[in-house]
C-alpha cells in the first residue's frame, strides 16, 4: 500500500458502537488524522494484535483431536477421527485433517495451542458466552469490550483498533471510544450538486435528538472517508458465499464469511504501517449440532486456507514479524456426540496463537475426557490469562487495568 492509500485509510472514521457510546463521544478530527498519517506512522518495532473470532462454538475436540484416547473414540463413535486421520502434534493430540497449513506452522514453531481454555461456571448460550469472551467479564455483564477498554485507556483514538467486519463486534467498543470499521468493498458517493448536498446533511443540527444526531454524524464520517478513500481499498473482491448444504449446516449462530479477504486487507494495512495496533476479523458457521464432521472440517479448511498465507505473508516484512494472531470461539462443544452426528454447546476449547513472535507448542493442560463436569470438559486455563499476556507483550499495556485486576499470564507464550 502506498503512502497515499495509507493516508486515505486513516481518514476512515466509520465508528459505531454497541449503544454505550454517547453522541459525538468519538470525535475524530480530520486534519489531526491526516497529520498523524504523515507524522506518526506505526514504528516498525511496535507489535500488532489480530483477533479472529469463530462464531457458533467451534468443536475443540475435533480441532485439536485426542484421537488416541479411547474415551474420545467411545464418546463419539460416528464423529471421531482415527489416529491415522489427524495431523500428529505429539502428546496424543493431532490437528484436524483440514488444517494442513497450520500443521506446517506448528512444525516451524509459529503456532502455539493453548489447551482447555474457558472460564468458571461456563455459560452455554452463544450470545452470553460470546459476550463474556468479548467483554472479558464472566461474572457480571459490562457494556464495554476488552479492546474497547484498551482504547479508552490508551488515548481514545479509534484508529488504534480497526474491524474489517460488516458490523462492529462488541470487543472493540469502549465507553468513550469505539474502533473504526472498514468495509471490504470500496466506498463511492455521487459527485456534483447531489454530493455536495449529501455532505451538508451531515452537519450537526442544534437541538437534534440522539439518534438523528448519530445519523448525521454517520453521514459526515462517511463523507470524509469517501472523499479520500474512494474505491481505493479494494474493488470487486467481495463475492457471494457459496451456499451448499454442508457449508451452511452450522449457520444459525451468526458470524461472517470471507475470512481470506478480511485477512488480506489487514495484511496490507499492517505492511503500510498504519498506526493501528489491534484488528478484528471473524468467521461464522461453527454451530454444528448436526452432521458436524464434514461441515466443521470444511470450515477449518477455510480457516486454514485464510490463516496460513496470512501468517506466511506477515513474516516477510518487519512490521508483519511483530504481528500476533489470536483465534478463539465462544465455547467448545460437548464431549459426547448428540446422536445427530453433531455436538451440543459445551465448555472449554483450544485457543490458537500464531506469528513470528510466538513460541510454538502446547500451553495449558489438556482437559480430561473422563473427569467431566455434567458431561463437559473442565477448563484448565482462563481465557483472561491469554488476554493479559497479549495486552502486556503485544500491546504493551498493564493488563490489570483492562481486565479488572486479572494478573495471571502465560509465561513463555510470546518471545518478548
Amino acid at each position: 500500500m502506498d503512502n497515499l492509500t495509507r493516508r486515505r485509510f486513516l481518514t476512515l472514521s466509520g465508528v459505531t458502537a454497541t449503544g454505550a457510546l454517547a453522541v459525538g463521544a468519538t470525535q475524530v478530527n480530520w486534519s489531526d488524522l491526516m497529520a498523524a498519517a504523515v507524522d506518526d506512522p506505526l514504528p516498525s518495532d511496535e507489535s500488532v494484535l489480530v483477533v479472529i473470532t469463530l462464531y457458533g462454538g467451534n468443536d475443540g475436540l475435533n480441532t485439536v483431536v485426542p484421537a488416541g484416547d479411547p474415551a474420545y473414540q467411545k464418546a463419539r463413535p460416528d464423529l471421531a477421527y482415527e489416529q491415522g486421520d489427524v495431523l500428529d502434534l505429539g502428546d496424543g493430540l493431532g490437528l484436524n485433517p483440514g488444517m494442513k497449513g497450520l500443521k506446517g506452522l506448528w512444525d516451524e514453531k509459529q503456532l502455539a495451542i493453548v489447551r482447555g481454555v474457558g472460564y468458571p461456571e461456563p455459560d452455554r448460550s452463544h450470545f452470553r458466552s460470546m459476550a463474556i469472551w468479548q467483554t472479558a467479564s464472566p461474572k457480571s455483564p459490562v457494556p464495554t469490550g476488552w479492546l474497547g477498554r484498551w482504547l479508552d485507556a490508551t488515548g481514545a483514538d479509534p484508529l488504534r483498533a480497526v474491524s474489517v467486519e460488516p458490523t462492529l463486534p462488541p470487543l472493540l467498543a469502549g465507553e468513550t471510544t469505539a474502533a473504526a470499521s472498514l468495509p471490504l468493498r470500496g466506498l463511492a458517493l455521487p459527485k456534483g450538486a447531489l454530493g455536495t448536498a449529501y455532505a451538508a446533511l451531515g452537519k450537526p443540527s442544534p437541538g437534534e435528538g440522539h439518534w438523528q444526531a448519530r445519523a448525521a454524524k454517520a453521514v459526515q464520517d462517511l463523507q470524509e472517508a469517501t472523499k479520500v478513500l474512494g474505491a481505493a481499498v479494494r474493488t470487486g473482491h467481495e463475492q457471494e458465499d457459496e451456499e451448499d448444504e454442508q457449508r451452511t449446516q452450522g449457520a444459525s449462530a451468526g458470524g461472517t464469511s470471507q475470512l481470506g479477504a478480511q485477512l488480506e486487507l489487514i495484511a496490507g494495512l499492517i505492511e503500510a504501517g498504519v498506526p493501528t495496533r489491534a484488528y478484528s476479523a471473524s468467521l461464522g458457521g461453527f454451530d454444528t449440532h448436526a452432521d458436524e464432521r464434514g461441515t466443521q472440517q470444511r470450515l477449518l479448511t477455510e480457516l486454514d486456507g485464510a490463516l496460513t498465507p496470512f501468517v506466511q505473508r506477515l513474516r516477510k516484512t518487519d512490521r508483519g514479524k511483530n504481528a500476533v494472531v489470536l483465534v478463539y470461539s465462544e465455547f467448545g462443544r460437548r464431549v459426547h456426540a448428540n446422536g445427530s452426528d453433531g455436538t451440543d454447546h459445551g465448555t472449554a476449547g483450544p485457543v490458537f496463537v500464531l506469528g513470528n513472535k510466538v513460541s510454538g507448542g502446547f500451553f495449558g493442560e489438556q482437559p480430561s475426557l473422563t473427569d467431566l463436569s455434567n458431561g463437559d470438559l473442565k477448563p484448565t486455563t482462563d481465557f483472561r490469562d491469554i488476554y493479559a499476556t497479549v495486552l502486556r507483550d503485544v500491546l504493551g499495556t498493564d493488563p490489570t487495568k483492562i481486565l479488572a485486576n486479572h494478573k495471571t499470564t502465560i509465561d513463555g507464550l510470546l518471545r518478548v
Binding site: G19, A200, Q212, K217, E245, N338
Partner: protein, 437 residues
C-alpha cells in the same frame, strides 16, 4: 414531559405499527389511525397479493450424484440458480405486501420474523420459509401462545435449529435452548437442566420427504417423564411451550422485545411492564398489548426515536412513492434486494437466530453508501408529480415522505438539489427520515 404533536403521533403510529405513512395517511386522526392499524378488520390490500407459486425445492439436488463430474457440477449450478430465483420471488412478494399493507398485521409479521429469526441460508427451502411466514402472519396480532406453539414445531424452524435430529435417546438441544433463551424467557430464567429436559420434550419431529412439512413420529418421541421449569410430567412440544410461557419471566420478556422494536431503545420501567402485562393478559393477546403500548406516555415522548431498520426504510420509501416491488422488472427487483443486502438486512436472511441488530448498527459507513445508492435507484422507478409540480419542492418532499418537518440543516442541504427525483432520493437519506422520530 413534553409530548410530540398529535400529527407526529399519527406519523409515529404509521412508522411503528406499519411501514410508514402512505400518501393521505397523515390526514387521518389518531383514533381513526389506531382503528385502521389495530382494529379487527383484515388487511384486504395485502391479502389481494397471492403468495408466489413454483417454490418447490429443486428436485433431489445433491442427493444422487451424477457419475459424470461435469454434469454433476452443472446440475448443482442450475439448482442453485433455481433456489436464488425462488427466494427472490418470495422476498419480493413480502416486500410488496409491506408496501401496500393497511393494518399492523404485516408489520408484526415482520417483527415476529426477527423474533423467531430463521434464515433460508440454512433452511434452503422457499416453501418452508413461506409456510413459517404465513404462520407468523396468521398469529401476528393474535395470542402469543398460539404463535409460540406453532413455531416450536414449524418446519423451517425445525430445519434451522436441527429439530429433526432430536430423537429419543439422542437429544439435540439446539431448538430447546434457543426457544427459552431467545423466543420466550430470556437468559437467566432457565437452567441447563431445563435445556436438556426441554430437548427431550421436543423429540419425535421429522422433516417430510420431498419438501413436505414436519411431522410427528411417536416412535422417535421420548415419552418418559421429564422434570423442567419446576414441573414433572410427560411433556411434548406443546407442553414444553406451555411450560415456558407460564413462567413469570415470559410476559416481561415478550413485552420488552416488542417495546425495543416498536417504542424505544430505553426499556420500560417496572410499573409500565406491570400495566402492559395486565393488557397482555392470561390470553397473551398481542393486539391488546400493542393497543396498551401505544397509549403509554413513552409513545408520545420525543426521546422515543428509533433508527429505521433497512427493510422498514426501503418499504416506507416505496410506500410513499407508490412503487410496488412486485410490479418492477426482474432486473430492478434484483437491484432492490442487492441494496437491502448491502445495507445488511434482507428478509428471510437474518444473520443468526438472535435476529438483526438495532440502532447504531444501521448507521455504518457501508450502510450509508448503499442507502444513497438504493434511494437513487428507487426514485427512478417512481412518478413524483407532487414534488415536480410544487413551488416549494423541499416542503413537498417532506409531505411526500411524511416527515414531521426538516431541520434548518436539512432544508439548506435539500435546497441545493433541483431535480425532483434526486431531491427525493437525498431527502430519504436525511437524518429526519432515516430515523423514526
Amino acid at each position: 414531559m413534553t409530548e410530540i404533536s398529535e400529527r407526529a403521533a399519527v406519523r409515529r403510529l404509521n412508522d411503528r405499527l406499519g411501514f410508514g405513512p402512505a400518501p393521505g395517511d397523515l390526514e387521518a386522526g389518531l383514533d381513526a389511525t389506531l382503528r385502521r392499524l389495530l382494529g379487527p378488520a383484515t388487511d384486504a390490500a395485502a391479502a389481494a397479493l397471492p403468495p408466489p407459486t413454483g417454490l418447490a425445492p429443486p428436485a433431489a439436488m445433491g442427493k444422487k450424484k451424477d457419475p459424470d463430474a461435469q454434469k454433476d457440477k452443472a446440475a448443482k449450478k442450475a439448482a442453485a440458480r433455481q433456489r436464488v430465483a425462488q427466494e427472490r420471488k418470495l422476498t419480493t412478494w413480502w416486500l410488496d405486501r409491506m408496501v401496500v399493507s393497511r393494518t399492523a398485521s404485516e408489520r408484526l409479521t415482520w417483527f415476529w420474523h426477527g423474533h423467531f429469526a430463521t434464515s433460508n441460508q440454512k433452511v434452503r427451502n422457499a416453501v418452508w420459509m413461506l409456510g413459517q411466514n404465513q404462520t407468523q402472519r396468521k398469529y401476528a396480532l393474535g395470542r402469543f401462545g398460539d404463535l409460540a406453539e406453532a413455531m416450536v414445531v414449524d418446519t423451517a424452524m425445525i430445519r434451522w435449529l436441527d429439530g429433526q435430529k432430536n430423537r429419543r435417546g439422542s437429544p439435540n438441544e439446539n431448538l430447546a435452548r434457543e426457544f427459552m433463551e431467545l423466543f420466550t424467557l430470556g437468559i437467566g430464567h432457565y437452567q441447563e437442566t431445563d435445556v436438556a429436559q426441554g430437548a427431550r420434550c421436543l423429540t419425535g419431529w421429522v422433516l417430510g420427504r420431498d419438501g413436505k412439512g414436519a411431522t410427528f413420529q411417536r416412535r422417535r418421541f421420548d415419552s418418559d417423564s421429564k422434570t423442567l421449569l419446576g414441573k414433572t410430567g410427560n411433556f411434548d412440544a406443546k407442553g414444553f411451550a406451555g411450560l415456558a410461557l407460564t413462567q413469570p419471566a415470559s410476559a416481561g420478556f415478550v413485552i420488552g422485545r416488542l417495546w425495543f422494536r416498536l417504542v424505544s431503545a430505553t426499556p420500560p420501567d417496572a410499573a409500565t411492564i406491570a400495566r402492559l402485562t395486565t393488557a397482555y393478559g392470561d390470553g397473551r393477546n398481542v393486539r391488546s398489548l400493542l393497543t396498551a403500548m401505544v397509549a403509554e406516555p413513552a409513545f408520545r415522548d420525543p426521546e422515543s426515536a428509533l433508527v429505521k431498520q433497512p427493510v422498514e426504510w426501503a418499504a416506507g420509501l416505496l410506500r410513499a412513492m407508490r412503487v410496488q416491488p412486485g410490479k418492477l422488472a426482474e432486473k430492478e427487483q434484483t437491484k432492490l434486494l442487492a441494496g437491502l443486502r448491502g445495507m445488511g438486512q434482507l428478509p428471510f436472511r437474518p444473520p443468526s437466530v438472535g435476529g438483526w441488530p438495532a440502532g447504531a448498527s444501521w448507521l455504518t459507513t457501508s450502510a450509508g453508501v448503499t442507502r444513497l445508492q438504493l434511494a437513487q435507484h428507487l426514485v427512478k422507478q417512481a412518478e413524483l408529480p407532487a414534488v415536480e409540480e410544487a413551488n416549494d419542492k423541499v416542503a413537498a418532499v417532506a409531505a411526500l415522505l411524511g416527515v414531521d418537518g426538516w431541520s434548518e440543516r436539512t432544508k439548506a442541504a435539500l435546497a441545493g438539489v433541483k431535480d425532483p427525483k434526486q431531491l427525493t432520493a437525498l431527502a430519504a437519506c436525511a437524518p429526519e427520515y432515516v430515523v423514526s422520530g
